[in-house]
Symmetry: D2
Subunit: 267 residues, 4 copies
């Protein structure tokens, strides 16, 4: 029997339905309150992930083991999170995988950091730069909760002033002025490796694309992703009425070794 048992200290996603899910930490003696009644968290201990539990009002919740997307969506937020749809594409365009070494900036809520760490673990590393201590502390909490902190080095620093790491597999930017980081990313990346930048405005995309061209990156592409949910029910199936219309544009490119036009730059 391979199903995992819920232990004290574990995080559990209590799922009533698709729209009502709650991330709780199982602590002995604690009670979790919902508008559908309360639940003694003691009762979860020893159950298997995937079992159902009843609230004081007899309402059934499923006790799921949180997945990466759950940790992202339930992040403690001090700023905007990177949504799974964008995190998924950023990861894929970056080319990273188990063992990769990645620089990310800024850390923000740590939502994207979690995704990066999840895919490079156990031997890879995410070096995540953040200027605001408040954000960094919050991200640390989120990463710890998702058991991903071991694969991340949280750094207090300004990547517009430089990146300390070298021979990186990818540099991932989600900050206001990505174009200022492009020359530093060039130095920090392996040849042929990938830079990915996520920005809400067109102007950021244009400036970043120009910086990429000037700094010897090629295969430069910008896309945006619109994700729409469906309401599925026989005879009544239709797209949901509301959707997120925009989060940001994703620009990605690859480092080339041809001599740079503007300023010489070695690896």
């Amino acid at each position: 029997m391979a199903n995992e048992k819920i232990g004290e200290g574990d995080y559990v996603l209590l799922c009533l339905d698709v729209r009502r899910t709650y991330m709780v930490k199982v602590e002995a003696g604690k009670t979790f309150h919902t508008h559908k009644g309360f639940m003694k968290l003691d009762d979860l201990i020893g159950k298997e992930f995937g079992e159902t539990v009843q609230s004081s009002l007899g309402i059934e919740f499923t006790a799921l083991k949180p997945s990466l997307t759950d940790y992202i969506m339930k992040s403690s937020r001090k700023t905007q999170i990177t949504y799974p749809k964008d995190a998924a594409l950023i990861v894929m365009f970056s080319g990273i995988g188990p063992g990769s070494r990645v620089v990310e900036s800024g850390t923000g809520t740590g939502a994207l950091t979690m995704a990066l760490a999840h895919y490079v673990k156990p031997k890879g590393k995410v070096y995540s730069y953040e200027l605001r201590e408040e954000f960094q502390k919050n991200a640390e909490k989120n990463l710890k909760r998702a058991n991903l902190l071991d694969f991340v080095e949280l750094k207090s620093g300004d990547v517009t002033a430089g990146i300390e790491e070298r021979d990186l597999d990818a540099v991932i930017l989600d900050l206001a002025v990505p174009w200022l980081v492009v020359p530093h990313a060039y130095k920090a990346l392996k040849a042929s490796a990938t830079i990915v930048s996520f920005s809400p405005t067109i102007d950021q995309v244009v400036k970043t694309t120009e910086a990429l061209k000037e700094n010897n990156f090629v295969f430069i592409e910008t896309v945006e992703c619109l994700m729409r949910g469906m309401q599925v029910e026989r005879g009544k199936t239709r797209p949901h009425t509301m959707m997120t219309g925009h989060t940001g544009y994703i620009t990605h490119a690859r480092k080339t070794l041809k001599p740079q036009q503007e300023t010489p730059s070695g690896t």
Copy 2:
């Protein structure tokens, strides 16, 4: 110096610009022909990935190390490929990562298989079922080229008749009748683990969603992803004129252990 050198037998992505890239296998004595002149592949050997090479007409190409998305887009195709935008979301919703054990069906071109193998390696495994031998052989070639065959077990079998594996982290379906596989997926998955189904038609989505509800899956959600490319140039920036309007819907859900309503089903 960490940059990797191109050796005989390596695959190289020759990049002229975003729309014109060519995947070549470096074989001594061979010549690669483009409408921009030819290239002696011998000349690539010993160069670093990321360097530029010139064709016989003096046109510069960058010799990139292929990334996961390049291997996917340049797959040898016997059938429709799963596009990176969909592969990225399927991977993220599946919750898999390094070490995961996944069943996929059908193998098809192996495009999605590559993505799954890339993220579960080196200790995880993808068990990929395919009925058509012709597809399987082609997929094997694609996986070998991308150095991902070691992490995949290609199986000739019909998942609508059953899944042999147990305690899986995810089951990924991209076949005509996913709803017929749902009961087998239930048995094959760990509790709380994820099923993801990719289907082009609404009818498939409805039938699969119903099968998921009947078979004790919860947290059932269907989305579609529209990706639009941007033409980025100062003063002329705009979305591209053409885009892919539809590939398929992604339905995902989680296995719960509550007693099934219709037919009892154990793990």
Copy 3:
């Protein structure tokens, strides 16, 4: 000087900015209250449409002459309105114009009725069927306000039981069971004329399309329209974060005279 003056009884759109506009009826002695102060409506009388007026707090509002889209968006609502994006496409696909005779069902809020009346006036006519008296009375109010009631005949009736009019230029359906109306629409339309149906669910689209095929309609097409707003500001331009993800599908077709396959049906 051609600018029109505001008179007592006129409707005026008070515009603070794009997101804050208010439709008011100019009545002597009345006061209009906003969170930006109040306004004596007497003060509007004799001004020209397009002039600015100040609230009691000194905030400037522009007094615009309401356009069709303003009347639609500011409809008194008893049910969902047809949004301008959909009304615009329905009108265009219907082929109607000045002088056309159109049947519509149901009247609903009268939002689409307004659009139809606006484009067929002054010599055309919209015959608008509605079962619920409450909706009809509300729609009448909306049409009167927009000065379009003269071009509409509001009918209390059930189009699934039949359409009284003949030789119509278009039949426009926005009701739960459009497929039941298709045979009646066939009889009511001129040859080569257009039927347009607006439905939120896929199932309605499928059933309506089948009914159209069985009832000798051709050139059958279904589309959906996604409209996304832009936040335009130099250096900060980007799509809006939220958008309407779905309103409905628009199916349109043309009546042909070829003998029907299923059941004979003449004009």
Copy 4:
């Protein structure tokens, strides 16, 4: 019997299916060739619009009376046409209807001109400016074919140098430098009337929006419209694979009479 008969000189839309339609002018003695056989156009004369006709190979075509969208889609093209989805929204945002007086520039293929003329007829007028004589002549042909030329005054002129008309209900711009026309549009429009600009690039939208703000326009909004077709068939319904990803952004605004900030400008 109200059905209209096909006469010599009429245009007919021969419809095989949704994707294969042909606009033909009925001329005695002429033959129309398709890959499904030929058709003697004499045979169409005296038939009713909506009847079916057979090609020499026995394939049935429906002889439809062309609607506005047919004339637009079958325009003789010297340049990009304005698609019905955009024409529909431009017309609706413009607020025009029967009797309106509108300036448009540039005429281009005349596709948008047709839509404008269709909705302002019979008493309204479209003043359509075009610099290139070749485009103008082609547009004239398209308008004549659609029986809409009487409601249009084709003008050879440069609206960036000024608009001759006054007291217009709307100014519609589809040209490379709309922002240069904004001050002239201000003078040409009635107070409270509407300007609509259609542009493919973000940069044009930004410059036009700035010009609108500087020239006393309010209620300024920019949207884009994505239209996606559906393949409708019981059990196989799905969105079409390909779609148009971008045509242009639609910016619209209303003229206000408040004193201008930058440069004084009267009506």
